[in-house]
Symmetry: C2
Subunit: 389 residues, 2 copies
């Protein structure tokens, strides 16, 4: 291994000078610089990252903790695994920012139980893995819901941490996420005000999932604001296609008239609903509209193409990274929650004519006082409410 000393000896200068040439700082005579450059070139010297980190007390590395979904069939893509794209997009946003600074990105996946939102009972190893990780980085980006919040809090005491994507109720944490509230609000308003759909059925996520909760509350807010609009029922699913199918089956089994629209907490479940409806020859959107959330890739491919809400994942990654850099520079900064605007993606499952594709930026909607936005929830931390049936 070629070290700084080798270069210094070879160029007939001191290590300090070599270091100065290497970083272009401090005054160095041109002739010396040239000599050092030549020596570096000749010996093929590359500085050792570990030694640099130690000496500078700064690693120029940030860590990203992602979810890894379990229970996916290996070697086989399906709609569920498509949701992984979210994290991959976030990762690309983060990486872009990091590259601009010539830092590096350390990635770790944490497995999540199929029962979305519930981490496996292996907190201990997760915690120790993340602690080890924290010794190798200057700051940490943590995907939503991957890590139990006490662990996040613990980590945040130790080094700058930003929680990425999804919606979170972590007290005093730095969070960058999509504006779920406004997105869901715009989506349901489009159904209600735009298409006159009055009788809504809700395919909800798990009661404990914070983003499902936000979306649910936004839907209720729209319903409340439009007299004559009612929630005919709801089903609490697990964010999977299968859950969506089951939800639709339950709904149909109940008999009675169909609702005007089925609002799903994510696209996977909306796709499940569409499948069941198609199997029963129920026409969408003529007999009932269906909408999702997230704008995963298959949403554009299903029949009819799904109206949904797009989350700016890449941008979330970028902003989270920016925020993390801020925190690394000034660790004393007060925690902040940052919500990025979503896009309403109108296709035709909502009742718009076939072929429609409109992408509407969603302006932030202030949650009415008392409503539970991310921000206020983070501050007040109320219990998740019981899902009605």
């Amino acid at each position: 291994m070629v070290t700084l000393y080798d270069v210094a000896r070879h160029a007939g200068v001191s290590t300090a000078t070599v270091s100065r040439v290497l970083h272009g700082q401090g005054p160095v005579r041109d002739s010396t610089r040239a000599r050092v450059r030549a020596a570096i070139e000749e010996l093929g010297y590359v500085p050792d990252g570990a030694a640099q980190s130690l000496a500078r007390n700064r690693k120029d590395v940030i860590g990203l903790v992602c979810v890894e979904h379990t229970g996916l069939k290996p070697n086989q893509y399906d709609i569920e695994s498509m949701s992984l794209l979210f994290y991959d997009e976030v990762m690309r946003g983060v990486e872009a920012r990091i590259r601009e600074r010539s830092w590096s990105l350390l990635i770790t996946f944490v497995r999540e139980d199929e029962n979305l939102g519930v981490p496996l009972p292996e907190d201990e190893p997760v915690q120790s893995r993340l602690l080890t990780l924290s010794g190798k980085v200057d700051g940490l980006l943590i995907g939503e819901g991957v890590v139990p919040s006490p662990v996040v809090t613990e980590l945040a005491r130790r080094l700058p941490v930003v929680v990425v994507a999804g919606d979170t109720a972590l007290r005093g944490a730095n969070v960058v996420s999509a504006d779920n509230w406004s997105g869901a609000h715009a989506l349901v308003a489009h159904l209600v005000a735009g298409h006159g759909r009055r009788r809504l059925f809700h395919v909800d996520g798990p009661a404990t999932a914070p983003d499902a909760q936000t979306r649910r509350l936004a839907m209720r807010s729209v319903i409340g604001a439009h007299p004559g609009t009612v929630l005919t029922g709801s089903y609490s699913g697990r964010f999977t296609v299968h859950s969506g199918e089951e939800a639709a089956e339950r709904l149909l089994a109940g008999g009675g008239t169909l609702p005007d629209a089925i609002v799903c907490a994510n696209d996977q479940m909306a796709i499940g609903v569409l499948r069941t409806l198609a199997a029963r020859r129920i026409r969408v959107p003529e007999e009932v509209a269906v909408v999702g959330f997230d704008d995963i890739f298959p949403a554009s491919l299903c029949d009819p193409p799904l109206t949904t809400v797009h989350q700016p994942m890449r941008k979330i990654g970028e902003r989270a990274c920016d925020r993390l850099f801020e925190l690394i520079a000034k660790p004393a900064l007060r925690p902040r929650v940052e919500l990025l605007p979503t896009e309403l993606v109108i296709r035709s499952s909502c009742g718009c004519p076939p072929g429609t594709l409109t992408r509407l930026p969603v302006a932030p909607v202030a949650a009415p006082a008392g409503a539970c936005t991310t921000r206020t929830r983070a501050a007040q931390g109320p219990k998740p409410e019981k899902t009605e049936r």
Copy 2:
């Protein structure tokens, strides 16, 4: 920051003892161990990664260099971006292995020109970025085609390097890839021997893309082995959906009878072909069969579902990582090319009945003497051949 010294002082022992407790090595009296553990706990000590790396002369980090496709519309998934999933799957395979050892994964993306296979004219920054990276890791995994081969060679002189996925002609490099030859062979044999398709049209990739080349040669080999089978023509595309559409338009514009089958060098182009054919009301597979390669997610969704060849990306990641660990342990190991078996995924675009879904492991097929497999190409390095029109 809490250091080892702080812990030692707090526990009333030497740093050596703390280190021993930390790593469970060397004899330590139980009472001492307990005292040290308590001190660690109390102070919330986490070892500094940089210092450890420096002292151990080993970083426990490996680097992964991926392609980043450019020119994709931000905030919007499309079929092209789906191909990204390949790298993401590779990454997960790698990460799984790394985690087993409690190492870490450092990720870097390198942009690739839209003109697939041709890196942007920014070799210099790429090279310097990778050199810097090489100072931070113990070994490097490099995605195929991302990095100009001289740079790979240079890096490999410096530290263990494994080239991942795709097909490569790098001299003396360690490579882990899919067995493109056997996969393409099985696919075309299925068309020819299984369905009696005789007149084939080829939608090829760029002449310079090594995996396209391998697949092309495998196809020719099947044609050669089946008298009466002919290549009616070919088109050299750029691996994009658009290329596929164009290929089909050219084919149709030529007039004359349709071929029996259109063999595409990847799924994206096959999807493009399907679209154009659908627009012209040409029925697949009744009038012409269409097959792809890669088994990207949308392949299962298109109409008719695409018969194609699946590459074991996750496994490739795992094996590449294993190989890298071997090399790190024994840097003198001779370079080796390892080809992983593919799967023939039979759906219905080849002529099999609607609803078919058969996944057939492809046994390695020895390339006939003189044929250009990865291995021999790597050794002989012939020029890419001219694409016929």
